[in-house]
C-alpha cells in the first residue's frame, strides 16, 4: 500500500491510497491519520481510486477518521474506489450513504 499526502487550500488534506488497505497495512494509515489530526487537520479528501482491495479493518480506519473529523467540525470526503474489490465493502456496509462522495476531486477542491 502506498500513501501519498498533499496539503491543499483551507487545510484540506488529500490522502491518496493505492494497493491494499487491510488488517495488515492499516496500522500505517492510522498512524498517519493520527499525525494529521494532531497537527490540526480536520478536513480530508481521501482518494480511493487507486485502491485495489479494502477490507473491514481498512474501512474502520476511514470511519474512525470521519468520526474524529466531524467531532472537530470537519469532514471526510471520499473519491470512490474504481476496483470492485475495494468498492464492495463500502456498498455492503452502506457507508457509501454515510460518507460524502465526489467523482472529481479537482473540481471539489476548487470549489472550497
Amino acid at each position: 500500500m502506498n500513501i501519498e499526502l498533499q496539503e491543499h487550500i483551507v487545510r484540506t488534506w488529500v490522502i491518496r491510497l493505492s494497493g491494499r488497505l487491510d488488517a495488515f497495512s492499516v496500522g500505517r494509515l492510522r498512524e498517519q491519520q493520527e499525525s494529521l489530526l494532531e497537527a490540526g487537520g480536520k478536513r480530508f479528501l481521501v482518494d480511493l481510486r487507486g485502491l485495489e482491495f479494502l477490507d473491514s479493518a481498512g474501512l474502520a480506519a476511514l470511519v474512525s477518521l470521519l468520526k474524529r473529523a466531524r467531532q472537530l467540525g470537519g469532514d471526510v470526503v471520499l473519491v470512490a474506489p474504481t476496483h470492485e474489490e475495494a468498492r464492495r465493502i463500502l456498498t455492503l456496509t452502506r457507508f457509501d450513504q454515510v460518507f460524502r462522495q465526489v467523482e472529481n476531486p479537482e473540481s471539489y477542491l476548487n470549489s472550497l
Binding site: 473491514s56 479493518a57 468520526k67 465493502i89 455492503l92 450513504q97
Partner: protein
C-alpha cells in the same frame, strides 16, 4: 446525545449471545454520543440478579437494567414493546438470532416480532441478526423434525425474516448475508457490521505455561457447536503425539440443548485428559485463552461470525476451523488464518490440530497473524459504525427544521 435501548441476553444471564451483548454494551457506554443505555434483558432464575443501575460517570453513559422478557415465553414481543414505550429511547437495538427467545418454534418466532412492534409504536428500531434463516441448519439449531415440519418452519422463517426487515436497519456480520437478504427480500437497509474483537488487548505473550499442551474449545455446546468429533480427534492425537496433552472443553450447554455436555461426558468417560470447565466467568476468560496452545472451533454449520475466533485472535492464538463455505470465506475476508478440517472427519481434525501442536514456529506465526486481524477491527470501532448509522436514521426521521436546529446545536 442518544438514549439507546438494547434488547439482549447479558451476564449473569446465560443465554446465547450474552457475551456479545456484554461487550457491545460496554463499548456503547463509552461513546460520547450516548447519554443513557437501557439493557432490556431476560429475567434471571430465582437467586440471581443483575448488578445495580450505574449513573453516568467518568465519561460513561448511565446504565439501566430492565429485565422484561423470559426465555420460552410467548409474550416477549409485547412485553419488550411495553418496556420500550415506557423508556422512549431514541432508538432500540435488538441483538438477535433465531432462537434468542425460545427453543420452541412458536415462542421463538413470536419474539422476533418485537422490532416490528417497536417501530409500529414510533421508535426507531435496528436489528443485529447473527444468523439468517436461509443459512440455519434447523436440525442442528434445535428446530429439527420431519421434512414437512422443516418445510413449514422455513416458510414461517421467511415470513418472520420479512417482519425483522421491517426494522429501520438490519445489521449482519457476514458479507454473504447482506447479499442474500438484499437479493431475496429486495431489502436496501441491510448493512454489514463485522463482529469486531471484544477488547483491544496489548500484544500478548506467545509463550505457553508449563504442563500439557492444551487443546481448547469454548462456547455454548449442543446445537451447532458439538464436541464429539473433537474428542474422537483427541483420542487419535493421544496415540500420535508424545508430548502430554489436555483437551479443555470450556463453557456450558446451549439453552436449546440442555444436558448435552453431561451426555458427552458420560459417553467419553473412558478418554483421559479431558477437562470440562462448565460456565466460564468473564474474569477467567483471559487465563483460559492464554493457557491454550490451540483453539478449536468445532462448528457443524454456519451461524454468523464467531466471537470465539475474535477472542482467539485477541490472545494471539492459532485456531483450527471447519471448512464450511460461508464461514471459510468470512474467516479469510477478515484476515484470520488457521488450519481447516472437513467438518465430518475426525482424522482431518486430528491432522489439523497436530500440525499446529508439533510446529511451535508455525503456531506462533498463525497466532501473530490472528492477533493483527483481531486488533485491525476492534468492537469499539464497530460500535462507531452503528452510531453513525443511528445518526443517519435519526436525521432522516426528523423534520427538516429539526435537523437544522440539531446542526446549529452541534456548532
Amino acid at each position: 446525545m442518544m438514549r439507546i435501548a438494547f434488547v439482549t441476553t447479558y451476564p449473569p444471564g446465560k443465554g446465547t449471545l450474552n457475551e456479545y451483548g456484554f461487550h457491545f454494551a460496554n463499548h456503547l457506554r463509552q461513546k460520547d454520543e450516548v447519554s443513557e443505555l437501557y439493557l432490556l434483558v431476560d429475567e434471571l432464575p430465582r437467586g440471581t440478579t443483575y448488578p445495580a443501575d450505574e449513573p453516568a460517570e467518568d465519561g460513561r453513559a448511565a446504565l439501566f437494567y430492565r429485565p422484561c422478557w423470559r426465555f420460552g415465553s410467548w409474550r416477549n414481543a409485547w412485553r419488550i414493546q411495553q418496556a420500550v414505550a415506557n423508556i422512549k429511547p431514541d432508538i432500540v437495538l435488538f441483538n438477535l438470532q433465531f432462537a434468542t427467545f425460545s427453543e420452541r418454534r412458536v415462542a421463538a418466532a413470536l419474539g422476533l416480532l418485537a422490532p416490528w412492534l417497536s417501530r409500529q409504536n414510533g421508535t426507531l428500531s435496528a436489528v443485529l441478526l447473527h444468523n439468517i434463516m436461509e443459512k440455519v441448519d434447523l436440525h442442528q439449531a434445535g428446530f429439527g423434525g420431519s421434512a414437512l415440519l422443516e418445510s413449514v418452519t422455513r416458510l414461517a422463517g421467511n415470513f418472520f425474516t420479512r417482519m425483522l426487515l421491517r426494522a429501520d436497519m438490519v445489521a449482519v456480520t457476514i458479507p454473504r448475508y447482506v447479499e442474500i437478504l438484499s437479493e431475496k427480500y429486495k431489502a436496501d437497509h441491510v448493512v454489514l457490521a463485522p463482529h469486531g474483537a471484544f477488547e483491544t488487548i496489548p500484544q500478548p505473550s506467545f509463550n505457553l505455561p508449563p504442563g500439557p499442551l492444551q487443546i481448547m474449545t469454548f462456547g455454548k455446546f449442543g446445537t451447532y457447536k458439538r464436541v464429539e468429533l473433537l474428542i474422537q480427534a483427541y483420542e487419535r492425537l493421544l496415540q500420535r503425539v508424545s508430548h502430554p496433552l489436555e483437551l479443555v472443553i470450556a463453557g456450558s450447554d446451549s439453552p436449546n440443548a440442555r444436558g448435552y455436555l453431561a451426555r458427552v461426558q458420560a459417553q467419553y468417560a473412558h478418554v483421559e485428559g479431558i477437562r470440562y470447565t462448565g460456565y466460564v466467568p468473564e474474569e477467567d476468560v483471559p487465563t483460559l485463552f492464554q493457557a491454550a496452545a490451540v483453539v478449536v472451533l468445532p462448528y457443524t454449520s454456519t451461524t454468523g461470525s464467531s466471537g470465539v475466533l475474535h477472542q482467539a485472535g485477541s490472545y494471539g492464538k492459532a485456531v483450527v476451523l471447519p471448512h464450511l463455505g460461508d464461514f471459510t470465506d468470512l474467516v479469510l475476508e477478515e484476515g484470520y488464518t488457521g488450519q481447516f478440517y472437513m467438518p465430518d472427519d475426525p482424522l482431518s481434525l486430528a491432522d489439523a490440530i497436530e500440525k499446529l501442536l508439533l510446529d511451535p514456529g508455525f503456531r506462533e506465526d498463525c497466532g501473530r497473524r490472528n492477533y493483527l486481524a483481531a486488533v485491525g477491527l476492534p468492537m469499539s470501532d464497530v460500535v462507531d459504525w452503528y452510531l453513525l448509522h443511528f445518526e443517519r436514521l435519526l436525521n432522516r426521521s426528523l423534520a427538516p427544521d429539526e435537523v437544522y436546529q440539531q446542526a446549529m446545536v452541534f456548532k
